[in-house]
Amino acid sequence: MSSHREAPSILKDPLADNTDTYAFVTPNNTLTIITNYVPVQAPAGGPNFYEFGDDVTYQINIDNNGDGKADVTYQFRFENKITNPNTFLYNTGPIDSLTSANWNRRQTYSVTRITRRGTSELARKLACPPCNIGPRSTPNYAALADKAVYKLPGGERVFAGQRADGFFVDLGSVFDLGTLRPFQNLHLIPTAAADGRDSLAQANVHTIAIEIPIPRATQRDRIPRDPMAQDSTIGVWGAAYRQKSNIRDRDGKPSFAGPWMQVSRLGNPLFNEVIVPMSRKDEWNAVRPHQDSAFAKYVAQPELARLLPALYPGVFPNLQALTKDRADLLAILLTGIPAGLIPGFQNFTGTTQADVLRLNLAIPPTANPNRLGLLGGDLAGFPNGRRVADDVVTIELRAVAGATYPLVDPTFTPDAAVTAIEDGTFNNPGRQFLDKFPYLGLPYSGYDVP
């Protein structure tokens, strides 16, 4: 998946598992950043419904000067509260408000903003909404969740709680020896053509979303207007941290000591999932983006680009002949796309190689988004930031297959099959996004989705 359970250590720690990061320009001179955790939630999760970790620090990090280090950080910490110690139930009646006495297990959180100028707590005791249980327990879920969107003193808006996972992928197909639709019949082990199946079609996730006034994220506290100016682009990544030591006492209660250690991070989707070899995935989760040059060789010579011609004999001859380092992928994933390759666009942040989601803030949102983002001629989409509906699996598959190599070598002709590559799950009719903050759809109800 994008980064769901993508590394050997973090798959054992879902509460800290950063699954997706989105960043895109939104109306009224704001940008919205969304980070997701706690992957692959079965909606019927009672009686212990899903929640954030009260022993995890979650951060949204923004680099605004191209060094791969955070210049603006929004930090989120959660607290749990049990209001009725005498019941095993999550709720003992309908939850019709965020202060409902019927709601037994609830979470609140604080938001802290960290910059070089200092640290300020923007809010505390903000309530998360409950999980979407069903029509009796959470009878008007949309209205209830709306109440959990808060305006902060700096102009930010935040939401933290359960949402429908916005990521879509035919996982069962991709990891069955790289089966790509619609090429199943051309695979080394051919099968008949079939429609894509969205592996996360009915899965929930826990979302931290923040809408930020753009001047609060940029280098000189201003709104970038020139897309070709280098300081118009920021780099974004989500990350989770646990304290270095965890001691489990005889009463079963854990206690913690030591500094916070990074255990999960995510900038570009699928980076750790399909670029980094399994033997180094835990290491990648532990190091900071500015240290990513250590992983550049896997971008320059991606394993997947070698697998495609082998798995589909005769389908990708031009890709098979392409043995040079993939300067196109190095730019897209690690430095940003420099000026001169795409008319009117760049999101280059300098020579520091860092896997961050680069967003040129001077590119306004479009009323007609193309799911293929830059590949579809839409400068406001991935890999210029990432919107919730961008088809990042198809975009990255096509890029690795050679679609973007002509950016750095105009003599290269991508194989004809490249434009036919599809993940096959974009049109899942059950997946709905919101046209307003926090953009990801309402979580699936446990009553409706077992």
């Binding site: 030591s245 206690s255 000591a257 030591g258 916070w260």
Partner: protein, 90 residues
Amino acid sequence: MEPVTRRKFLVTGSVGAAGAATAFGTGWAMSAASADESALTQDEIDAVNGPLVVQVKDPAAGELEVLVGEREVVFTDKALAARLLRASQS
């Protein structure tokens, strides 16, 4: 939790894994190198209100790491490292 004496800590501490105690003030790490055996003040005790974890990172070099609150302090004390090592094997 009942305060833990240094002697008790040495007995219950572990090497390579985490050993926890609660009685050491934040200044303990700096004074350990001089083998300060003086009694802890109440302020020193109160300064640590959660677990204090010591990891012997390199027994031969005497490199110790103390985890307390949200901090870590790394220092060298060959004698203490040796006593912890031997205590773990007793």
